[in-house]
Amino acid sequence: MKFKTFAAFIGPSVFMMLLFIAFPLVSVFQQSFYITQPIYDLVEVETCTPGFLTQTCVTETQSVPKLDEEGAIITQTEFVGLQSYRNVLELGRAWDAVSSGSWAAFQAIDFWKALRFTLSFTLITLPLVIGAGLAIAVMINSAAKSVRGPVIFISLLPFIITPVIGALAINWLFRGDGILTAAMEWYLQRDIAMFAQAWTIEILMMFYRVWHVAPFAAIVFYAGLQTVNQDSLESAIIDGASRWQRLKYIVIPHLMPLIVFISMIHLMDSYRVFEEIVGFSSQGHVISLQWLTYDFLVPDQAGNRSISRASASAMLTMIGIALLLVPLLRRTWRDHQGGH
């Protein structure tokens, strides 16, 4: 294919990606060093209230945003260097907390709290998703042919459901005296509040994520199981390998590329954990990195969005993505070199 035809085919797609992905990325990077604020004037305001005999007057200086001729607030953008990063990281406070050895004080800072949750969420759910996916795939594979279709249908439901709704559905089972909380209370004979402390919420969030992603892993593994070499399985049987040994030495090595693939996808996706925070409305106890950026972007009571802080926290989130991507890109690069 000539370059010109190739360019015509990929042009629209590349253009869209440049305009809506690459360009915003650059602009976020730039925004993180600037801050846009209204210009404030210090104005002396005299407020008088009618009193007995004379008026009571109070004079105070207020900072009032400057307005232009049309009454719009004038803003100015100035270069602040790393100030927004400092505001997000709060290194001084973090360092004080670390040096005084107080984990609670350290976790009171939003960014570090979000980082701690995001990392533990990613690392704990990974083995669970792989394990659950493998188990389901092996069980579907050994089930009778007639039940496989319905089972796959049911398995697809958690995967396909809107993430916010899926999280809500599990939230409602436990919220207040939800049916499962009531069942646990009846079983343990004590009061349980699933949403009063961070760790129970985190367990529910991780459960939701495994419930949501395990079907995807299971279906990919199930497809992989169909291509296991039957000859090597048979020779393993003749050599007297047990069921467990066959799984360990033949099936799992065969599925290894798929396990790596699922792990990569899962790491990328769970690092972006966000919908769980919304669905479980856990922002009071647990937040994630992406939610932090989202929160800066949502207008506050005065209607201002802290764009520069959002940009700084977005850039800090990107560092993690970059670290995650390095092994994946190295692998793809190796495959590419090997393929030619």
Partner: protein
């Protein structure tokens, strides 16, 4: 023979395995099943701590909303018929009677007709028939299970969820159409070119796929809000503010979706032998004609599968739509988030549950019709690594 027998599991193992599979199905389906049950009950029943009361709904029944055995039978029959039509008849009908180019149209028309038909059958025809028949069948016509559709009426009519539904429909339709037309071109180009550039584009797309969406939205927001200023030199007086406009969100979602779309379509295109293009080229087609007349007709399964995943992305999105659309143009998922943040009374909660079920129902339907395509899509990218 001995190998085949040895591969077969001994009975205890098979029983355990099947028991665990049943347990998994229960875990997978229970939360969804439960919100569905709750949405049809009065608040007292929906939040009863006794599971049986939630399912049977005595309080709902006491208020005069109930179903008789006959109605239950009719309802189950209607659902069974829908499942049957959706998973068997519709796919084979569309595949059998339409040729390649028009198949997608057949899928859309068939699926929406079936969807609307089943809603009408469940909420219109079944109650109507049973109202007529209930007095005639004696004990079978007495209400036994409490069930009410009032929360759905509240959500769709009073809370204006219908407008959110229209917005969702507009945005998903836009995203699917544009991202498929842009994506098939790129996917084909990338599959047929072995150049270094194609490889690098794929790698960069992979990096883009990993980006958190909030990072991108942080880039759009200031630009979109002030767009009437910087677009003024081009459009003059009527320069639009992109913030809050559905078409801007469509463009954003298409772009976010592109990396995934081109990877998936590329892997489908690679399964089509390149000899087919060459034959068309020998017969005098240009590259574009070969693509349009020879490759696309055999590519429809891949396009439909990729379209499904584009649909899911646009339909399920919360972050982008909630930040870039204002209240009037809001789609369903962010709207429900606003609904449950407001929830103060248990009635409001059940209304939010009904809204959640309304969002899930089309997806449920989608899995029924397109199960095979979804499975093939999940495995397409993966099996080749």
């Amino acid at each position: 023979m001995s190998a085949a027998r040895a591969l077969q599991q001994p009975l205890p193992l098979r029983l355990t395995s099947n028991a665990f599979l049943a347990l998994w199905c229960l875990i997978a389906a229970f939360p969804i099943f439960w919100i569905m049950v709750q949405s049809f009950k009065t608040p007292v029943d929906a939040y009863d701590s006794n599971a049986l009361n939630v399912i049977l709904g005595p309080e709902t029944l006491a208020r005069g909303h109930g179903m008789s055995v006959l109605q239950i039978l009719l309802g189950v029959g209607a659902i069974w018929l829908t499942i049957r039509l959706a998973s068997r008849t519709l796919p084979s009908f569309v595949r059998g009677s339409m040729d390649g180019g028009l198949q997608w149209l057949g899928w859309i028309i068939g699926a929406s007709a079936l969807g609307i038909g089943s809603v009408v059958a469940l909420f219109g025809v079944v109650p109507w028939i049973s109202d007529v028949l209930n007095p005639m069948v004696g004990p079978l016509g007495v209400d036994v299970v409490g069930l009410t559709t009032e929360h759905y009426k509240t959500v769709w009519v009073e809370r204006g969820f219908f407008r959110n539904f229209q917005n969702s429909l507009l945005i998903t339709a836009g995203v699917v159409t544009i991202s498929l037309s842009v994506g098939t071109l790129a996917g084909y180009g990338l599959a047929r070119s072995g150049s270094k550039l194609a490889f690098w584009i794929l790698i960069i797309a992979l990096i883009f796929r990993a980006l958190p969406h909030s990072v991108l939205v942080a880039g759009y927001l200031p630009v979109f809000i002030s767009s009437s200023e910087w677009l003024a030199p081009i459009f003059g007086e009527n320069a639009p503010t992109l913030y809050g406009k559905p078409f801007a969100v469509i463009a954003v979602l298409v772009a976010i979706n592109q990396p995934f779309t081109i990877w998936m379509l590329r892997s489908f295109f690679q399964n089509i032998p390149a000899e087919l293009d060459e034959a068309a080229r020998v017969d005098g087609c240009s590259h574009f004609q070969a693509f349009r007349r020879v490759i696309m007709p055999v590519m429809w399964p891949g396009v439909i599968t990729t379209g499904l995943f584009s649909f899911l992305l646009a339909y399920n999105d919360f972050l982008v739509t909630s930040l870039l659309l204002d209240a009037q143009n809001q789609t369903m998922v962010p709207a429900i988030a606003g609904m449950f943040n407001r929830e103060t009374t248990t009635t409001d909660q059940v209304v939010a549950v009904a809204a959640a079920v309304s969002i899930t129902a089309p997806l449920f339907f989608l899995v029924m019709v397109f199960q095979r395509q979804i499975v093939s899509g999940l495995t397409a990218g993966a099996v080749k690594g």
